[in-house]
Structure formats: structure tokens, C-alpha cells
């Protein structure tokens, strides 16, 4: 009997043991979870403290360059051996997702602008540009330009929302921009939009005159712009596909004003071969319908090709374009054109440059007869010199000779102080 009791007791204990063991495991897991949570809180607090510290030191640094994140060296004050550092191995800069703000402005002195016999100082555009990283894959980009010159009242100063984009950064092969973008027509329009300080010359190539200043190319659209790399080894191929609508802004009555938001499509392909750093060659095809007057539209197609080299002191920009305007039965107009700009940096600060612009018009009917209003210039020779006073300030002198279709030829001169902040 006693043996039977002992056997039963042993069996009960044996049956209970796994339950106890399981309870112990659960307890240990709960403790571990609590410990992990506590450690996570500590890490978060340390990261916050580290971020604040980095911001403080960055503010204290005197370097004004806005594009760079500047941090005073913590090791300079308290040398510490690197291998013992406990920062996470996959850490990024603490302020990688901060708000970036940049501005461009210029002051000019112009003589005989566009053939007028003017002689005056002029305030250029104030261009404000900002990017914000919303998340690792989302970026917000906004750019607004204020053109204060020639405005009589403060209320009439146009605030031009130049770009407003939500940028989805997928990977090297696919990125998407949603909003108001600059059309990837040719090279110059995507490389230099606003911000006179960025470009070498005072004036833009005549082909890429802004719409509100009488330019006939659709340099801005609203819609979707996809871009990315094409796996092609050392050829460095990239594509851009854009679907959008023409942007209507500027002063009513100007030439080139598109009265209807017709759908536009653009495709661009360019190569930056790795074997020749600084070289870019490419082409683009654009198609939409242009409505210069109410309830009327004509087909518009624009082909461009470019070959650009910017390296080793040289800047050699070459772009050709053919624009077709077809409005049967009202005729057609074909506008071929090109420009070529050569610049070379002498020493550390001087960059003389020369540019030649050319356009021609072939057409028939009403469309052909009206084309010179859109492309009033025939060719232009422009020469000048840029002097970089500091990293952020440039002084430029320029002289140009324009041959026009609708008015006598003229010579114009300009001096510009352009800067970024």
C-alpha cells in the first residue's frame, strides 16, 4: 500500500514538473520582454540626447555652406578610441532628415535689354527653395520665385510656385515625382531652372527662355514624372517619363500662353558614361496640344538632343531642338534651333564664356505666319566673364548681340551680382 502511495506521489510530481517548468519559462520571457522594453527606452533617450548634442555643435560651427552638414569634432575636445564607440553599426548621420532651406537672388545693371534703350539697375528674382525628408522614401520639394522688378505695387508682385513636388524615392531604377515639375526637355531646363548664381552666364540660352518671359517651350508641367537608371553597365543610362498638363501662369496676353490644360507626354533618355566623367548625352521627345486662343488647339511636338561636358575647368553645352506646331487646316510651323556655350575656368575664380544661339522658322498658313511672335529672335552671340568673389557670390559681365525678326538688331550689356544663401 505504502509503495503504491509513493508511486502515485511520484507520478503526480512527474506530471506537475513540465507545468512548473513552463511557468518558469513564461516568467523568464516576461522578465526579458520587460528588460528589452526598458533598454529600448534607454536607447531612445540616448538617441535624442545625441541628436540635440549634434545640432548644438553644428550651430556653433562658423562654416556658412548651407549644403553641407557641419559638425565640430567631438574627438578634438575629448579624444576617444574609435573601436570602443557604441553607436549602432548601421547608424546614419543624426540629422539626416532635417529641413533644408536655400535661397538665390541677384542684382543687375542692364543696358538695352531686349532692344530697348534702357539703362538701369534691376532687382532680379528671389528664389526660395526647400526640401524636407518626410520619411526614408518620401521627400517634399518646394520652390517659389518672387519677381519684384517692374512691379508698381507690392500687391502686383507675382509669387510663382515654381516647383511643388512629393518625391517618392523607390530605388535607383524607379523614382516618382508628383506635382509641379520642370519638364525634362533637353539639358538646361533640368540643370538650371531658377537661381542665377548656379549658371555660368548672366542670361539663359534663348531656347530655354521662361514661359512668362516669352519662351515658347513648355518648361513646366503638372503631373507625374518617373525617372531612374537603366541597367547598362558603364553607359550610365537614365530615363525620364512624364505625363502631365501644361502649366498656365504668367501675364495674360503674352505669347505662348496655353489657355487649356491639355495632356502632355514627355520621354527623355540620357547617358553619363563612367569612362568620361562630366559627359552627358541624351535626347527627349515631348508631345501635347497648345491652345493659344480659346476653343482652339494645335498639335505640338518637340524633339531635343544634347551633348554636354562639364569637368576639368571646361563647360561645353550643346543642345539642338526641333519644335513642330501643326494646326490643320490652319497650316504649320517648324522651328529648328540650337545653342552652344563654351566656358573655361582660368585660375581659381575667372570663367570667361561664349554662347551662340540660333533659330529658324519654316511654316505655312496662319500658324506659320504667327510663329515669329513666339520665336522673335533669329540668332545671338553672347560673351562674358564670371568672377567668383566667394564660394557663394559671383559677379558677371556680359555683352550680347541679337539678330531679331520683328525689330532691328541690337546690342545689350549686363552686369550681375548673383548669390546664394
Amino acid at each position: 500500500m505504502a509503495r503504491c502511495v509513493w508511486v502515485c506521489a511520484a507520478m503526480l510530481i512527474a506530471a506537475r514538473t513540465p507545468v512548473l517548468a513552463q511557468e518558469n519559462k513564461d516568467e523568464v520571457i516576461q522578465k526579458l520582454i520587460a528588460r528589452v522594453e526598458a533598454l529600448e527606452r534607454e536607447v531612445a533617450e540616448l538617441k535624442q540626447a545625441s541628436a540635440k548634442s549634434t545640432q548644438t555643435t553644428a550651430t556653433a560651427t562658423a562654416d556658412p555652406a548651407p549644403v553641407k552638414e557641419v559638425a565640430a569634432a567631438p574627438a578634438a575636445a575629448t579624444p576617444a578610441p574609435a573601436p570602443e564607440t557604441t553607436e549602432p553599426a548601421n547608424s546614419e548621420p543624426a540629422d539626416a532628415s532635417r529641413f533644408d532651406f536655400r535661397g538665390f537672388a541677384d542684382v543687375d545693371f542692364d543696358r538695352n535689354v531686349a532692344g530697348s534703350s534702357s539703362k538701369k539697375f534691376a532687382l532680379g528674382e528671389v528664389d526660395l527653395f526647400t526640401t524636407t525628408q518626410i520619411s526614408p522614401r518620401l521627400t517634399f520639394l518646394a520652390e517659389a520665385a518672387l519677381d519684384t522688378d517692374s512691379e508698381v505695387t507690392v500687391g502686383s508682385i507675382p509669387v510663382d510656385v515654381e516647383r511643388l513636388l512629393l518625391q517618392v524615392r523607390g530605388n535607383d531604377y524607379f523614382n516618382l515625382d508628383i506635382g509641379s515639375y520642370r519638364t525634362a526637355i533637353g539639358f538646361y531646363n533640368t540643370a538650371y531652372l531658377r537661381g542665377e548664381w548656379l549658371q555660368t552666364a548672366v542670361t539663359r540660352p534663348l531656347l530655354f527662355t521662361f514661359e512668362e518671359n516669352g519662351g515658347f517651350l513648355p518648361l513646366h508641367n503638372v503631373g507625374l514624372s518617373a525617372n531612374g537608371a537603366i541597367p547598362a553597365g558603364d553607359f550610365g543610362l537614365h530615363y525620364v517619363v512624364e505625363v502631365g498638363s501644361s502649366r498656365n501662369y504668367g501675364q495674360p496676353g503674352r505669347t505662348g500662353f496655353d489657355l487649356e490644360d491639355n495632356a502632355a507626354f514627355n520621354f527623355a533618355l540620357y547617358s553619363r558614361p563612367k569612362s568620361i566623367p562630366g559627359l552627358e548625352i541624351g535626347f527627349s521627345v515631348y508631345r501635347d496640344r497648345l491652345s493659344p486662343v480659346p476653343a482652339y488647339s494645335m498639335g505640338r511636338r518637340i524633339w531635343t538632343a544634347h551633348a554636354v561636358y562639364q569637368a576639368h575647368r571646361w563647360e561645353f553645352l550643346n543642345e539642338a531642338m526641333l519644335a513642330e506646331f501643326n494646326g490643320p487646316p490652319d497650316g504649320y510651323a517648324h522651328v529648328p534651333g540650337f545653342y552652344s556655350q563654351l566656358a573655361y575656368r582660368v585660375g581659381g575664380k575667372w570663367t570667361p564664356y561664349f554662347r551662340y544661339d540660333y533659330s529658324n522658322i519654316y511654316g505655312r498658313g496662319v500658324v506659320g505666319a504667327g510663329a515669329p511672335q513666339y520665336v522673335p529672335w533669329r540668332n545671338a552671340e553672347t560673351g562674358g566673364i564670371r568672377f567668383d568673389l566667394t564660394e557663394s557670390v559671383a559677379l558677371k559681365f556680359e555683352l550680347g548681340h541679337d539678330v531679331e525678326r520683328l525689330q532691328p538688331n541690337f546690342i545689350q550689356a549686363a552686369m550681375q551680382l548673383a548669390f546664394t544663401f
Binding site: A73, R102, K274
Partner: protein
């Protein structure tokens, strides 16, 4: 490990014996790109290449303006003036290509320490600074197949 230390010491010795300063390109220990062409180094520092082949973002570490390493970066790697360098970075960002990650640090030790901590970082430092404790944990990159101190090394 010992051979690596000896090699580093040899490089430093050669650099010092050579007279004019030599500069080394260093990356994080986990970075597999330890043999780069000078054009690739230029692309990483100039902002035209913003990602490593493994997809991580490139963080270019530059030394403060006026330092020998910064001058080497401008004159021998980028062939630009400081103004052109700034214009180039600004233009990339301005054209919608995203912000180029550039970190400016005031000392060689801080640059090494930053590279040690950030896997996507790349820095140009004086070869003599490789003896610093902060530089123990970084990888020296071959440029055009050469290490600092070797005949034909381009950054000296």
C-alpha cells in the same frame, strides 16, 4: 591582424619618408568597395554617385576648408575650386536629385571616428593620420589599384 598593423605602419612610414603629404581614402570596415578607380572616388565625393552598390547611402566626409585634406579633395580628386564644388552639390540637390550627404569634420580623428560609425561613409585623410587610435577601425581603399606609399598612387 598583426600583418595588417605592420602594413599600416609601413604605409605611414613610407608616407612620412616620402616628404610631401599623402592622402588615404578610408571607408567603413563592412564596406566591400576597397578598390576604387580615381573616377569612382570623384563620383562619391562629388555627389554624382549617392549610393554604394549594396544600396546604402554614401556619406562623404570632408575636412574643414583650408585643411590639407580638403585642398587635396578639391585639387587632386575633384579638380574644382571651392565655389565650383559648392555649385555642383547645390545643382544636384536643386535639380531634384536629392540631398548629397556631406559631413564636414574638423579633425582627422573625428573623420575616422565618423567613418568607423557610419557604414556608408567615405573620407579622405592624411596618410600620417592613420596612426591615430580613431583610425584603427577603418579600411584603407586602394585607388587605381594602389595603396598609399606605393609607386603610382595618385593621391600624393
Amino acid at each position: 591582424m598583426r600583418s595588417a598593423i605592420l602594413a599600416t605602419m609601413l604605409l605611414i612610414g613610407l608616407a612620412r619618408a616620402a616628404g610631401p603629404p599623402s592622402f588615404a581614402v578610408v571607408v567603413h570596415q563592412s564596406n566591400p568597395r576597397v578598390d576604387l578607380r580615381l573616377a569612382e572616388v570623384r563620383a562619391y565625393f562629388g555627389g554624382s554617385t549617392t549610393r554604394w552598390p549594396n544600396g546604402s547611402n554614401v556619406v562623404a566626409v570632408e575636412r574643414s576648408s583650408g585643411s590639407p585634406a580638403f585642398r587635396c579633395l578639391l585639387e587632386r580628386v575633384l579638380n574644382m575650386t571651392a565655389s565650383e564644388y559648392k555649385r555642383n552639390l547645390t545643382r544636384i540637390e536643386y535639380s531634384g536629385g536629392g540631398r548629397v550627404n556631406v559631413k564636414t569634420l574638423n579633425t582627422e580623428g573625428a573623420a575616422c571616428k565618423f567613418v568607423f560609425n557610419v557604414p556608408g561613409a567615405i573620407a579622405l585623410i592624411e596618410t600620417a593620420s592613420l596612426s591615430l587610435a580613431e583610425c584603427n577601425g577603418v579600411q584603407i581603399v586602394r585607388v587605381n589599384g594602389k595603396l598609399p606609399g606605393e609607386e603610382g598612387y595618385p593621391l600624393r
